[in-house]
Homo-oligomer: 195 residues x 2
DNA sequence: ATTTAAAAGTAAACACTGTTCAATTAATGA
DNA sequence: TCATTAATTGAACAGTGTTTACTTTTAAAT
């Protein structure tokens, strides 16, 4: 076969994703440039398209890496958590978003063309994240009510996400919301108390 | 002066915003083109920049129009509301976002350069929206606790926004969240019950 | 060892962006 | 009538994603 470098196709793919993720973290979704990624790893723009087929697929790969890092971070923080694991989870959610502002925002900034479904591998990464939330909420619920976690988890995730998103992007300028993370945690606790 | 058309500067400004808003509603933030807007109203791209100075300012004007329409819609629905005004407010929030998907999403998709503050007129439009929420939450709280509304409102707004955003953009594919609007309303009610 | 076929990679070309700015047009005041 | 001034243009520039004809490299087959 005709490879001229030392990299297998999979190594090259990984290089692109890692460098793409680095660039995403630096400049954010709106200033992301596939050409710049290609230049930085010493390949031409054409090679990127040969490997990924389209920019959307590259975006999914980059966001997929972010989802993996996010999951790893949540698990790490949960291992070191004390009694209140839910609080640790909410805080870890915020911490990751704050430290990785741009890469985190890109998860929501990038959208597939309407009607095009997410690839299976990507949905699986999302499921891995939500499963963590479901498990912690199930554990926090009174025994016997644990099956309500599957229905409650997405709603609480949405609540926490809302606090995080409005704070991080600053598009709605929520004055009077001093500690968004604490407020989000309070909302979660209230919902659990009701159930 | 050298105007060659029948429009005053303010009329032209209004034309651009209206056509820009129309285009935003049609194709969304990521396919928005200032050139296309100019073409549709029969002016050149240069004129747009003379009137608005930058694309960011045009975006703020377009999003400002969306904020106005949103406020009007909330007030309209509140006038026709029955006993449960908060439920009407949450539903109106969702309805507007669904009907005006693209224009609504653009409120969050567009971001000013870091460090650049929002213009005063724009913050005022946001305040008009949040004031509606604050007033309704204050009315729903037990008398005497009404001053907690200022602190509670942004958090509840964030919760509702989170449900709406994750559902509309579909970036996190929240299965098991059948009725996001009802779930958001339930979270709001829980928070009020606690206070 | 030579040929062949396929894989890998390139870079120019295309159609778009946003942005700037010298040149042009048209209306007004003197 | 003429100079001034506001309004408007559209070409030019530097980017973007995307496609594709082309070249290089390598492995396999003869």
């Amino acid at each position: 076969m005709g490879r001229r470098s030392d990299h297998t196709r999979e190594q090259l793919r990984a290089m692109i994703v890692v460098e793409g993720h680095r660039q995403m973290a630096e400049v954010g979704f709106f200033h992301f440039s596939a050409r710049e990624v290609a230049k930085r790893i010493g390949y031409s723009i054409g090679t990127l398209y040969n490997v990924f087929g389209s920019l959307d697929q590259l975006m999914l790969a980059i966001n997929g890496m972010t989802l993996d890092l996010w999951r790893d971070y949540l698990e790490l923080r949960l291992e070191a958590a004390g009694a209140d694991r839910l609080k640790a989870l909410v805080e870890a959610y915020f911490e990751f978003a704050i430290v990785n502002r741009h890469a985190w925002a890109a998860l929501y900034d990038h959208r597939l063309p309407e009607g095009e479904p997410m690839p299976e591998y990507y949905e699986a990464k999302i499921a891995a994240l939500t499963d963590i939330v479901v498990a912690e909420i199930a554990a926090a619920l009174p025994p016997g009510k644990a099956d309500a976690a599957v229905r409650l988890a997405p709603s609480l995730l949405a609540s926490v996400h809302g606090h995080c998103a409005l704070t991080l992007t600053g598009t709605l300028s929520l004055l009077h919301l001093e500690d968004p993370c604490a407020a989000a945690y309070a909302r979660v606790r209230e919902a659990l108390a009701e159930a």
